[in-house]
């Protein structure tokens, strides 16, 4: 057999290559140990959680806004692809906050850039915004864009406020101090996950749950936090991919396992087929999910199947004067309700925080306006204001620590999200 001798030879080649690779790895690591020098980057700070924030290496620039020119604020969000329905309202909400605002006679304009919810898109949008001379950025929307673009914004000294990045890593990067120039308005998975777990075991009195999760950064992250905190038994944990439609196999497994409740970690796009198939197969156990599903579209699309679903939102129940102002303003400007899409109020607040800080630090210099981005960053870090989602004040890592009851629960009743009190 000619072929078999070839295969033998090729296998040898494979083994050889692997051996070579391993040797080089071994050499590589021992090399570094031998020299033992702390590598030039010097950012490795132990204990990410309590680490202090390091300032950007190249310092903060001062941006001069010319006479009669507007102040530019960047927006990094999703403007194309199947998440544009999430990204465009976020951009609109931010723009609403800057409408008719003037600072020392200078208007505010917004530069929208498409980050496509990806790491490459995030960095490309970041570069374009930096080069456009923005003073600060609302966004990025997705955690993957945030994590990839943080080094760029940090180096440029431009502060970003994400309305919606919930990954723990955004404010607690591994192996270095949190980024000085990153803040987020929303609360991270580490707050929402345990609250959901507590809700499942105490309010729903579920001793056994079945977990279904979207296999991406958001779904995996939230599911992990949930499972870590949940005291009962997790009967099964099954993932699905973006655009999944057929959940029948999972539903059959749930039928077999007989859990007390189902926890769904993902977005409404896949929650709709899942809950429809679950309910139509005759399963009536409680359905619990989070912010990704708490979207008006979940109710319109799933209809009767959505009735009785429990959903959490990592923010207090939205109410108050600022929220009303935002809601009416949004309806007037764009002709639709703000709460039909998640994170619009957060985006409005992110822009408001940025604008309030701008008002504090902008210095008139003849006909021009000088904005020191270092002072701007410090003003944002020190901000304490009441926004549409409640009080906003950042902790030293850049997380929003202002809210008092950060997780609220809703139940779908007669086609509406109704606040659910224990």
């Amino acid at each position: 057999m000619r072929l078999s001798t070839r295969w033998v030879r090729v296998s040898w080649l494979l083994v050889l290559m692997l051996a070579m690779a391993l040797t080089v790895v071994a050499c590589g690591s021992s090399d570094d140990e031998a020299t033992g020098t702390p590598v030039a980057t010097g950012t490795a700070v132990a204990g990410g959680a309590t680490a202090t924030v390091a300032p950007p290496e190249s310092g903060y620039p001062v941006i001069t806004v010319g006479a009669g020119e507007p102040i530019k604020i960047g927006i990094s969000t999703i403007l194309t692809g199947d998440l544009q329905a999430l990204g465009i309202p976020i951009a609109q909400a931010a723009e609403l906050a800057g409408k008719d605002v003037t600072i020392e006679g200078h208007a505010i304009t917004f530069e929208r850039k498409d980050d496509q919810c990806s790491s490459e898109g995030g960095t490309s949008a970041a570069q374009q915004l930096i080069d456009a001379g923005v003073v600060g950025v609302v966004g990025p929307v997705c955690s993957s864009s945030v994590i990839a673009s943080q080094p760029l914004y940090e180096e440029a000294g431009i502060t970003t406020i994400s309305p919606s990045s919930t990954a723990v890593a955004s404010t607690a990067p591994a192996g270095r101090a949190p980024y000085a120039t990153f803040f987020r308005v929303t609360y991270n998975d580490a707050i929402q996950g345990p609250a959901l777990a507590k809700f499942a075991s105490e309010t729903l009195t579920a001793a056994k749950v079945y977990v279904v999760f979207f296999n991406d950064a958001y779904g995996q992250g939230l599911k992990d936090e949930f499972e870590k905190a949940y005291t009962g038994e997790v009967l099964g944990s099954e993932g699905f991919e973006k655009g999944a439609t057929d959940f029948s196999s999972i539903v059959t497994n749930i039928e077999q396992a007989k859990p007390d409740a189902v926890f769904f970690s993902g977005f409404f796009g896949e929650a709709v087929p899942f809950i429809t198939q679950l309910r139509e197969s005759g399963q009536t156990m409680p359905f619990l999910s989070a912010d990704g599903v708490r979207d008006e579209q979940f109710i319109t699309l799933a209809g009767a199947a959505a009735e009785g679903a429990y959903l959490s939102l990592p923010s207090p129940t939205l109410s108050g004067d600022v929220y009303t102002t935002f809601k009416t303003g949004y309806l007037a400007a764009y002709g639709k309700e703000a709460d039909t899409s998640p994170f619009t109020a957060e985006s409005y607040d992110a822009a408001s925080v940025l604008i309030a800080a701008l008002k504090q630090v902008a210095e008139v210099d003849g006909a021009t306006l000088k904005i020191d981005l270092g002072k701007l960053r410090d003003a944002i870090a020190a901000s304490d204001l009441t926004g549409a989602i409640g009080r906003i004040a950042f902790d030293e890592k850049g997380d929003n620590a202002g809210g008092e009851t950060p997780v609220s629960f809703f139940i779908v009743k007669d086609g509406q999200f109704v606040p659910f009190e224990g």
Partner: protein
Amino acid sequence: MERTRAPFAALREALHAAEERTRLPVARLLLLVLLLSVPLWPMVDSRWLRILVLVGIFVVLGLGLNIVVGYAGLLDLGFVAFFATGAYTYAILASPASPALQADLNWWLAIPVVLALGAAVGVMLGLFVLPLRGDYLAIVTLGFGEIIRILLLNVRGLTNGAQGLFNIPRPELGGWVLRSLDQWYWLLVLSAFLIATAVGRMRASRMGRAWEAIREDEDVAAGMGVNTVKYKLMAFAMGASIGSFGGLVFAGFFQFVNPSSFTLAVSINVLSIVVIGGMGSTPGVLFGALILIGLPEVMQFSETERLLSVINPAVPFADTTDWGRQVASARFIVFGVLLVAVMALRPEGLFPARRPQARLPERHESTA
């Protein structure tokens, strides 16, 4: 037409003569100098450079796939697997977020590791698909790419799952850290040049002729005594090795990898680059990547938006926002239409490959 062509012909003649005289690839060296000088051009700012770095990564990927598809005629729809191999190998061995091991591998030392591992993965895939042809090969490679991506998502102890691996160190050599965009750009131009030269040599060698024979007709090639198994595996190994290097650059440049960067869309993009450029053509890969990767980004530049806003009033298209913004958000429609249009107008691609011609050192043979 004739008038515009004449200066090019003269230029080509001059270059040809210079190459004959000096025995150096003068044309290629000139192109290299031209490409290297790009960061010094007045209009090129960091936005352009960042896009050019991304284009450069795709040029490297395109050069790799070109061997597999363009030279050997093996339709690979899962090239992203090799890209991911390179990126994740370095990320796992270097990222402080890596859950399995903290090897602190230096980027430069990672180059041989990644090249070797890439080749090994290529041979492994090659062994699986040896008996398959044409579209059967295409679907198995597509599946292979998807399997790799799902493994990256699900083998979380090694890859950190969907969260990805972050703070991957930049290339560092004796205290000097590669960080500015122009340095990355130069690194990519130089490595793409080296790869293109190496690939060009392979193509002109015995191996290249064997690939061509396999591409034209595998059975006949085998009948003529070409060791098809060996050369097919070589094509996969070479292509995979180059693709992995692209991944290594990607990981070092973005300092962050997660599985959503390694989807089927990458394989499709790279294949489109190769075919739009002209299968088997090196300048084709360069222009294909410039158009397919660069254009969608340039279409959302503020200048483009402003430029389009000027024509805006003349066209009844806009609704609430201006036309520039509309076009920026519709740029993937344009991208799709562009693929159709280029294929309709130039089915062979923009720069169809010329067959390599053996040239004898003495001139007296070619007096005609």
